[in-house]
Symmetry: C2
Subunit: 173 residues, 2 copies
DNA sequence: GTGATATGTTTACGGTGACAACATACGGTT
DNA sequence: AACCGTATGTTGTCACCGTAAACATATCAC
């Protein structure tokens, strides 16, 4: 798992080869099959580990910092983030991963509820915003604006801040 | 291109094999190399085609329907959408794809400007919202809420509608 | 007609996922 | 102490894949 995780974070999940991971771990090319049914199962395990990391990243933060934490996690573990949300794994084939992801969603929604975002649509919109922003920053879009702000993290903070104002306006209306 | 596109839309870009595409097109397994330097180049071409499709999907719509069009495109061509934004292609290695993507971003921002979203951060936030929503719906999250609304498209419409109100409130403030 | 260019084919090599058969080491039972 | 099931690792094998090189053919300008 450790060797495979490092390979994924370095070159992306598509480039992960069971054999290379096995070599990196110093075992034979077929040893991984004693622990994972196939390549996808190993990726699923790494994705689940990713949700643990995401939980961990969100844990220390106050509810209102969730968005920043989300984007920061994506920036800190880009390939892991893509593995978790990039659709490389079919959730139908990995029920354990599915339920782990759903748990993360529930935690997220609960965190948003603390922030006063209790309507289902608003929670969905908030999450979509966080998620899309993470993805966009990861892809390197808005590079110019990001430079002006002094880095992607600052950019994300400002974008999220702008919307926070909008939501406040909505609640007061 | 047609054969490869169908394979990608059916089983995802990771499962695309040059040899299988060549077989589907009825040519030898090495014929594609006369048209594409390598596998990634073919994927890049398919991604560029995807941006054409996205432009086309957004063209007929009024500016205020952009969000719906975006999500509808993702739902209509899930694997193509993932190929375009999933980070499978490194934009550094495919400058043509990079500029094509930037053109699409510019069109999108212009469309948003027509809608009154002219501040850079608001445009970024709007795009992030559309993008994240598309991704989330694609991943099958909020399945329960989606059913209640009568399908993912209706769900997306409602979420986007909720935020539209928020933005209006911000502008009036 | 001739030659250049575009396109397709054949053959070959190394890497990869996956399967099967075999080996080894460890913990509990008798 | 002898025994055995289980977990783990190894070797060998196969089909498939990306990619390269050498070779063949067709098309089109001159």
């Amino acid at each position: 798992m450790r060797a495979a995780g490092e390979l994924v974070e370095k070159r992306g999940s598509a480039a992960l080869s069971l054999r290379e991971a096995a070599r990196a771990a110093g075992v034979s090319h077929n040893a991984p099959y004693r622990h994972f049914a196939d390549r996808d199962s190993l990726l699923a395990a790494l994705a689940m580990e990713g949700f643990d990391l995401l939980d961990q990243a969100a844990a220390g933060r106050s509810a209102r910092e969730l968005g920043e934490a989300y984007v920061e996690f994506a920036l800190a573990h880009p390939q892991r983030f893509r593995l978790m949300f990039g659709g490389a794994l079919d959730l139908e084939d990995h029920p354990a991963l599915r339920s782990r992801a759903e748990l993360a969603h529930q935690k997220l929604e609960r965190g948003l509820a603390e922030f006063g975002v209790d309507a289902a649509f608003a929670a969905a919109a908030t999450w979509a915003l966080m998620h899309g922003l993470a993805q966009i920053v990861l892809d390197g879009h808005f590079a110019h604006a990001q430079e002006q702000c002094g880095g992607p993290a600052a950019f994300a903070r400002k974008v999220l801040g702008a919307v926070r104002l909008a939501r406040a306006a909505q609640r007061s209306a």
